[in-house]
């Protein structure tokens, strides 16, 4: 592997997508947890724990979309038109929850349950759609002459529905462990008790995806079931399993950050495994980052902006999490 422009850009996009999954993951997760928490005061605390940061989290999604168009226009056009259904479901979900998020604080008491419901439904739609999209990408798309040549419902398969449900557990777990850090007393206790079952469910999902992927994707099979590679690759599943065990152990740990960090590590390893499996393809099963890349002049021109601006966004993100660290004790921090 040498560091040419398409490779650098693949890392940029991959990094942006990972930031999105980690950051928006836990605030979507909070929406997913709403049905388990009925108390109005506790719901306020949950939402307040992400209020200062949630829209910053979504910026990574827009940046990812625009960046993908700039750097890999072929991938952008093929993947987005192939994933028409899930992408629209995700966008509608994000709009609904974004607006519900803001307006539930400003609503009169009688309207509040409606905004709360929309907040949950929107989070559910967005998460499920992203999971379905992930599954569909793993299975790959029919491409002819660098254009999507399949049907409008090609994204729909038992596997993609399964990955859709899997992501619900992943984001739910991120939300739960985030709230362990941000809350106390009864709410924290409830969150702690959710860690074990969610970890088991997520581990089972990741296990099934890892077994199924090489079965349906030939290049993944060749990569993983090859003696010269396996030494380098085998740590991935071993570490993932280790973090899953650590996470269950951390459910009642005094160190409140431990569970969240374990979840991040577990998901990071899963994401890494996925990226390694697909590399160097950007549109599975056969189009590589080099074939999908924009001309050199586009890659260079945009990279200049990325080099200057992305670090600033990162510093700001870090800073705002620092400013808002600590427990959310009351609800008057917002609205």
């Amino acid at each position: 592997m040498h560091f040419d422009l398409p490779t650098i850009w693949a890392f940029v996009i991959g990094f942006g997508l990972m930031m999105y999954v980690f950051l928006d993951g836990f605030d979507l997760g909070i929406g997913l947890l709403f049905p388990f928490i009925k108390d109005k005061h506790e719901r306020d605390i949950m939402v307040n724990s992400v209020a200062p940061v949630w829209d910053g989290n979504e910026t990574w999604l827009v940046l990812g979309g625009a960046g993908l168009l700039a750097a890999f226009p072929v991938a952008y056009s093929v993947i987005l038109s192939a994933l028409y259904g899930p992408i629209l479901l995700m966008l509608f979900g994000l709009i609904l929850r974004g607006v519900a998020f803001e307006f539930r604080f400003k609503a009169t008491e009688s309207h509040r349950p409606m905004w709360d419901k929309l907040f949950f439904v929107g989070s559910l739609m967005a998460t499920f759609a992203q999971g379905v999209a992930m599954g569909a990408v793993i299975l790959g798309f029919q491409v002819k002459n660098f254009e999507f040549a399949g049907g409008g419902l090609d994204w729909l398969s038992p596997f993609s529905l399964f990955t859709g449900f899997s992501l619900l557990f992943a984001y739910g777990l991120l939300g739960v462990t985030w709230l362990v850090i941000k809350t106390e007393h009864g709410l924290q206790k409830k969150m702690r008790s959710l860690i074990k079952p969610l970890t088991l469910l997520l581990s089972a999902c990741m296990f099934i995806i890892s077994i199924y992927t090489p079965m349906v994707n030939e290049s993944v099979r060749d990569l993983w079931f090859n003696l010269s590679n396996i030494i380098y690759l085998v740590p991935l599943p071993i570490f993932t399993a280790t973090f899953a065990l650590l996470l269950m152990g951390a459910a009642h740990s005094k160190d409140e950050y431990r569970a969240f960090i374990c979840t991040l590590c577990m998901l990071f390893l899963g994401y890494l495994g996925l990226c390694v499996s697909l590399w160097p393809n950007i549109i599975p099963p056969s189009i590589t980052i080099y074939q999908a890349a924009a001309p050199t002049s586009s890659l260079k021109f945009t990279l200049v902006g990325v080099v200057f601006i992305v670090p600033v966004i990162l510093i700001y993100t870090f800073w705002s999490y620092r400013v808002f660290r600590g427990k959310v004790v009351d609800t008057d921090g917002y609205h």
Binding site: P52, V62, F105, E147, F148, G152, I309
Partner: protein, 466 residues
Amino acid sequence: MIDLNAIDLARIQFAFTISFHIIFPAITIGLASYLAVLEGLWLYTRKPIYMTLCRFWMKIFAVNFAMGVVSGIVMAYQFGTNWSQFSNFAGSITGPLLSYEVMTAFFLEAGFLGVMLFGWKKVGEKLHFTSTILVAIGTLISMTWILASNSWMQTPQGYDIVDGRVVPVDWFEIIFNPSFPYRLVHMGLAAFLATALLVGASGAFHLLKGSHTQVAKKMLSMAMWMLLISAPLQVMVGDQHGLNTLEHQPIKVAAMEGHWHQAEKGEGVPLVLFGWPNMEKERNDFAIEIPNVASLILTHSLDGDIPPLTSVPPEDRPYVPVVFFSFRIMVALGILMIVLAVTALILRKKGKIYERKWFLRFCVAMGPSGLIAMLTGWVVTETGRQPWVVYGLQRTVNAGSPNSITAMSISLLIFVLVYVCVFGVGVRYMLALISKGPADDYSLEDDEHLNKRPARPLSAADGVEI
């Protein structure tokens, strides 16, 4: 029954979502500069009224900004979901320009928006003022990238075509393409005008109600000065923009003018005041014309000729009625704006500007006119460049995604439903904030709100329930 295919539905969807979206950034651009002016005036004069106004419009700015962000996410993905052939063909140029727009917007939000909205008591006055100015500049830079991208699609240059795809060759030429400077200034002024008209209408509204009189007078007065300067300036810029279009996209101008056939030598082109462009018969029905005036406007001579619609085959012409009527609505509203500005000046001289009820009602009625003029202007330029999506390079019919009519119909329906509900609530909330008006004896020291932890743009707005 109108027979719509998937491409038509994709066009309607794009037109609908972008029209909804553009309203919010336009107000963001205008209000950001207005806020910078208000804060500057406050620092200079120390009159509390400027601070009251600044804090009041900042709340509305915050709500509006949030709407812009939410509706903008859709735009970042629509080029792929609905226009994959276009993205594939020209993404190497529009992609980087859009990326820069997104990065500028986030840079701005990351750095200065938070300080502007929540930093009143946390940073010094000068630093706060600097942040407000930088937010204003940031919105203008953001607009610049979008207009560079759009203008390149109208008047492309600085590229090569390799293997059926656009390859950027010279980024300076791409960004500073021939129609870019005109479009940029025209849109910038449109944003300022639209905002001034909204501010003026808000002031007039409160004067009619008899509430917040002092603040309302200041709003109305500032808005009318702004209008008096910008509206005539916009006419001149629009004229120049039109001449530029005549040079690079003559058929668009022919559609705007309803000019079908080559004029006889020395006859000149008439100005069609009204008519119904008939695409089949290639003429205007029921036309009322003033001889030679279109020649005068477009060529600055009485008998100058411009290329007519029939100089290109029918398949290379835009759908004329839409261009023709949108253009007339825009121009008519522009004239009304000048009438409003001049009336305000006359009444001001007589000292009656805050008293004449009919004038105040006129101001309120003109509140949305800036936004309507801006939207119809965009309809003129976007419909007028059809059948091309990238002018002369790619036709709109060849730019779509392979989506079925069913998929497109369902998604369009949901878009309309979701947007009307969601942004309807947002707009209603902004109007409620406006009609509640500012706090009369506002002072920074007493603002409890600012002692709380800063959070999200929308949390800068409070005091009104939905």
